[in-house]
Every structure is written in structure tokens, then in C-alpha cells.
């Protein structure tokens, strides 16, 4: 049972020429994911969601803030990073580029097993490799293990990538757009696989995506990000069915949903939903009830003005 806690994570990128103003990719981002739960982090390109993923697996060093496992901040540095990564793993977006084209599948899966001491002998390794292949439903296992990435389909590759992430027997899994590069007809299959694996292994999963529909259906809570900041958070159904922040409304309206009626944009929705808290500051994880619905107060925020105007236009047009 492991809880991932991301607290006040901030990342500034210095502009390329050095002295210019820093670009704040992630601004005071906090989230808690408990074991056996999926939390979706939703946002469009440039919202900072991938930077959050990379900070969570220590590919990027945060400018400020910390990542805690069970309330403890793990040490940093070579050895400690390795230990950390035996607990926190990641599935990358593009299975076409996240597997080394020049190494066979067996090698790429066996490495994490050996690095993290999961197996001690060749026989154990063989057994564990077959177990991993079975866990991600790849068969015939022995044959696939012998292959190179280019001999596999996109879906098969992503299964291999998931198996690699599972190899160190992690407690936390960061899935960064794990299906956006795959053909639509196999996306749900892969997400279902991740969901099953979460249940079987009691994983805490942070599911990063731009797709609201799968975010709603595969996670218990949704955090919506825009320009590095959280604009809305709450239980999945609450956020999708009663979106309050203008940006969330824009996202919900934009997502194709032919099976439902048209979505009504409503800037005053919060007035009819007193259970939604509007706030200028991100809620504090220690005191904040996890399931509560929160939205960033946009009413006095100059940065959101154009957004509000766009939405007002849409609301008027649909009336």
C-alpha cells in the first residue's frame, strides 16, 4: 500500500539564451494518489502534464516542491534514484520510440529485472519474463521475447513497455498518454489492461491524458491542468458532468460525444452547485477532503479573461 504525494511541484525552464524570463511549465502542482486508485491528469499540449510525469519519475528535477512516497521524501542521487525507480515506474507515450530499436524484447525486459534484483538466476529470469508476458497478455511469450520492436504492432509494443514498467514490481505507475499513439480500436484494451494490473498489484496510477472520456471512465478522480496550473479537481463524474471552470467547460464542450445531447456552456453553473469550492490558491493536501470538487477562481483573474469571453460567446450562440 503506497501513496504517491506530489506537493507544490514547480518547474521553471530558463529561456534558451540564458538570461531571459523563465518559463513556468508547472506551477504549484499537488496531487495525491493512493494504492489501488487511478487519478487522471487532464490537459492539452503545453499544459505541463508531461513535465509533471517526468518530475514524478525523476527524469526532470523540480525547481521547487517534492514528491513523497507514504509521506516520506526519498533521498536523491544515483543509488537512491535507482531504489526510487524500483517503486515508481512510468509508461511512455510513444511505444514506437520508447523501445530501443536495436535490442531484442527479452533484453529490454530482463534489464530492469536484473538491475533491481528481482531475479537472481537465469532460471528465475526466464520464469519472471514469462510471467510478465502473461501479465500483459502477450503470447506466444517465448516467440515475442525473441523479437525486435519493429516486428511488433503498436499495441504489442505498448504491452511490452507496460511489462517493462512492471518488471521492478513498482508500487506507483505513471502512465503518460499511454494510448494516444495507438489505433483507436485497441486503446480501450490497453487501458483495460492497465486497470486490471492496477487492481491485481494494488498500484497507485497517475494517468496522464488529453482525452476526457477515458479519464472519466478509468479514474476515480480528475485533475484538470492549464498552463501549468490546476484549474479544477474532484471526482471524475463531478468534474465531467458539472464542470465549473471555464476551461474545463471548454474541454467538455469540445470533446466529441455523439451519444449525448449538446453540452450547455454555463459560466454561472457554480452558483447552482454550492458544493463546489472556488479558490485562488490550490487546496492543501493535508486538510483537503480528497473527493471534494474544487475549481480555481477565474472571476478576478486577468489571465482567464479571454477564456471567459470565448465562453460567453459560445453560451450566447447556443441560446
Amino acid at each position: 500500500m503506497t501513496t504517491l504525494e506530489v506537493r507544490h511541484l514547480t518547474k521553471d525552464y530558463r529561456s534558451h539564451r540564458g538570461h531571459g524570463a523563465a518559463l513556468r511549465a508547472v506551477d504549484d502542482f499537488s496531487v495525491r494518489v493512493t494504492a489501488g486508485e487511478t487519478v487522471a491528469l487532464v490537459g492539452e499540449s503545453g499544459s505541463g502534464k508531461s513535465t509533471v510525469a517526468k518530475m514524478a519519475v525523476r527524469l526532470v528535477t523540480p525547481t521547487a516542491g517534492e514528491v513523497l512516497l507514504d509521506g516520506v521524501a526519498p533521498a536523491r542521487g544515483g543509488r537512491a534514484d535507482k531504489r526510487y525507480r524500483s517503486r515508481v515506474q512510468m509508461v511512455f507515450q510513444d511505444p514506437f520510440s520508447s523501445l530501443n530499436p536495436s535490442l531484442p524484447i527479452a533484453y529490454q525486459l530482463a534489464r530492469p529485472l536484473r538491475i533491481h534484483g528481482v531475479v537472481r538466476s537465469a532460471a528465475e529470469e526466464e520464469r519472471e519474463l514469462l510471467r510478465l508476458m502473461e501479465a500483459v497478455n502477450l503470447s506466444p511469450a517465448k516467440e515475442v521475447l525473441r523479437k525486435y520492436p519493429h516486428e511488433l504492432s503498436g499495441g504489442q509494443r505498448q504491452r511490452v513497455a507496460i511489462a517493462r514498467a512492471l518488471a521492478p514490481r513498482p508500487e506507483v505507475l505513471i502512465a503518460d498518454e499511454p494510448v494516444s499513439m495507438l489505433d483507436v480500436s485497441i486503446r480501450l484494451e490497453i487501458l483495460q489492461l492497465l486497470d486490471d494490473l492496477k487492481r491485481e498489484n494494488d498500484l497507485a496510477v497517475l494517468y496522464i491524458t488529453h482525452d476526457l472520456a477515458t479519464a472519466r471512465h478509468f479514474s476515480s478522480r480528475i485533475v484538470v491542468m492549464r498552463r501549468g496550473r490546476v484549474v479544477e479537481r474532484g471526482r471524475s463524474d463531478d468534474v465531467i458532468l458539472t464542470p465549473v471552470h471555464p476551461y474545463t467547460q471548454l474541454l467538455v464542450r469540445a470533446a466529441p460525444d455523439p451519444a449525448s445531447g449538446p453540452f450547455a456552456v454555463d459560466l454561472q453553473r457554480y452558483e447552482r452547485h454550492p458544493e463546489v469550492t472556488l479558490g485562488a490558491l490550490d487546496p492543501d493536501l493535508d486538510t483537503w477532503p480528497e473527493d471534494a470538487h474544487w475549481a480555481r477562481d477565474w472571476r478576478d483573474d486577468d489571465a482567464d479573461r479571454s477564456l471567459v469571453e470565448e465562453l460567453t460567446g459560445l453560451a450566447a450562440a447556443s441560446r
Binding site: 517526468k54 519519475v57 527524469l59 544515483g78 534514484d81 535507482k82 525507480r85 524500483s86 515506474q89 512510468m90 511512455f92 507515450q93 510513444d94 514506437f96 520510440s97 520508447s98 523501445l99 530501443n100 530499436p101 536495436s102 535490442l103 534489464r111 530492469p112 538491475i115 533491481h116 519493429h150 503498436g154 513497455a161 517493462r164 514498467a165 518488471a167 521492478p168 499513439m181
Partner: protein, 284 residues
């Protein structure tokens, strides 16, 4: 693996290089005293003297064979040193990043703007013992910087690929990342830089020798040209004196160039993308 267009160039290039390499290795055992003079000066090619003789009766064929050893050695040694230096400062800097990268870039940029040939002339003039190895070393020092820049940018590009990140997340150590994930992807470029360095060195040495700044004992194609020039072989019509070493330089240069072309064809991103496109199944 190579496209049909690439492979003939590679095959021809490698064959020619192999012939020269064999000659270079065997020449010291076959030819003794290549510079010994004889009674028959300025003889045109004959069965006795395949490439004719010089003004003081030296056998040009023997000189060319011996010169092959010198020229090829300089090419190989200078090429290897160029690669070693450029990997140290280019690949090493890009891989370690931060200050290392800044230092490596600075150094290679400084060497890049140094005027090569004049520096070469000054340094070779200054060095006391002008052996083949010293010449190769000097050539490598003035010419590694370009290769370092190429390798640095390629390393940066490979380092940012997803599978390198994925290997880091899997827990691979730095060394393992370097040797197993990054270096194999640099091999074609490293090979191409070696070939390029060797080609440049052979031409540079020929130039130096021609100017009389070559290896002291004069065992290279360039030095044959130097003596031919000094003895006014052209005005004397002794074409057999300067054509063979000149042709050797041209042929070996062309062979190395062919190898480089075929490597280029393989690593050129556009050609590579075209080769991969069908596998990736069109658009995503």
C-alpha cells in the same frame, strides 16, 4: 541492410581500401631500401622498373609501395586520434551535460576557428623529430574539432530519445546508458568521422610533404611528389615520377569518399525515415 544504391559504393570503397591496406602492411617486407639510387636516371617505365626511375635512379615503384605504408599509417593514426578527441570532447560533453558540455563546446569551437593549414605548417616546422606518427598527431590536433561538433549534436539528439529516458527510468547506470543505448546509435557517424578524418589527414600530409614539411625520412606519396617537383619532373617530361603517387592519393581519397557517401546515405534522416515509414504503418 543497406539500400541497393548504397551498397555498391561501400563495396568498391572497401575493396580499394583493403588493397591499399594490404600493400601498406606488406610493403616493409617486400621493399628494402626504396630510396637507394641506381645508375639509370629518369628511365621511363619498363619491366625492370615498373614505374620508371627518378633523376638519381631510384625505383619509383618501390618508392610508391613504401610511401603507401607512410600515407596509410598517417591516415589511420590521424583518423583514430580525431575520433578519440572528438568523442572525448563531443560525445563526453554532450552526455555529461552542464559544465562538461560548456567546456567541450568551448574547446572545440576554439579549435574550429584556428586556421588549419598555416597552423599545421608552423607546428610541423617547429617539431624537431618529424616522424610519421608526429605528423599524424599534429594533423589530428588541428582537425578534430569539426568532428566533435557533429558528434556532439548527434549525441544530444540520441540522448533525448524516449528509449534512453525509458532506460534511465528502468534504472540503468550512466555507463550502461552510454555504452548500450547511446553509443551503438552513434557508430555510423563515428565511422564516417573516422573515414573523413583519415581522408583529410592523407591529403594534408601530401600537402605538407609537397611543401617539404613532411616526415623526415620521406616515406609517403606526398614526399615523392615533393622530390619530383624539386627535380622539375614535369618540365623533364618524367610523368611516371609524379603520376603514380598522385593517382594513389586520388584513388584512395575517392575510395574513402565512397565509403563516407554510403554511410551518409544510411544515416541521412530523410532516407532513414523513408525506410522506416512502411514499418510504422503510415500516419498515427
Amino acid at each position: 541492410m543497406l539500400g541497393r544504391r548504397g551498397s555498391w559504393k561501400l563495396r568498391v570503397g572497401l575493396t580499394i581500401c583493403a588493397v591499399f591496406a594490404v600493400v601498406a602492411v606488406l610493403a616493409p617486407f617486400l621493399v628494402h631500401h626504396p630510396n637507394r639510387s641506381g645508375p639509370d636516371g629518369l628511365q621511363p617505365p619498363s619491366l625492370h622498373h615498373l614505374f620508371g626511375t627518378t633523376d638519381i635512379g631510384q625505383d619509383v615503384f618501390k618508392q610508391v609501395l613504401a610511401g603507401t605504408t607512410g600515407s596509410v599509417t598517417i591516415g589511420v593514426v590521424a583518423g583514430a586520434l580525431t575520433v578519440a578527441l572528438s568523442m572525448l570532447f563531443g560525445v563526453g560533453g554532450a552526455f555529461l551535460g552542464g559544465l562538461w558540455d560548456d567546456a567541450g563546446s568551448l574547446l572545440s569551437n576554439v579549435f574550429l576557428v584556428l586556421p588549419g593549414l598555416p597552423l599545421l605548417i608552423i607546428v610541423t616546422d617547429y617539431v624537431d623529430s618529424r616522424s610519421v606518427l608526429v605528423i599524424a598527431l599534429v594533423i589530428a590536433i588541428v582537425s578534430w574539432a569539426g568532428a566533435a561538433r557533429v558528434l556532439r549534436s548527434q549525441t544530444l539528439s540520441v540522448r533525448s530519445r524516449d528509449y534512453v529516458d525509458a532506460a534511465r527510468v528502468a534504472g540503468e547506470s550512466r555507463w550502461r546508458l552510454m555504452l548500450r543505448e547511446i553509443l551503438p546509435n552513434l557508430m555510423p557517424i563515428i565511422a564516417s568521422q573516422f573515414v573523413f578524418g583519415a581522408l583529410g589527414a592523407i591529403l594534408a600530409e601530401a600537402g605538407l610533404s609537397f611543401l617539404g614539411l613532411g616526415a623526415a625520412n620521406g616515406a609517403s606519396w606526398g614526399s615523392i611528389l615533393f622530390f619530383a617537383q624539386n627535380a622539375q619532373a614535369i618540365t623533364l617530361g618524367a610523368w611516371w615520377w609524379f603520376v603514380p603517387p598522385g593517382l594513389c592519393i586520388a584513388i584512395l581519397g575517392a575510395a574513402l569518399g565512397l565509403i563516407n557517401f554510403s554511410i551518409d546515405e544510411r544515416i541521412n534522416p530523410r532516407l532513414r525515415a523513408a525506410a522506416q515509414a512502411p514499418r510504422r504503418g503510415g500516419k498515427r
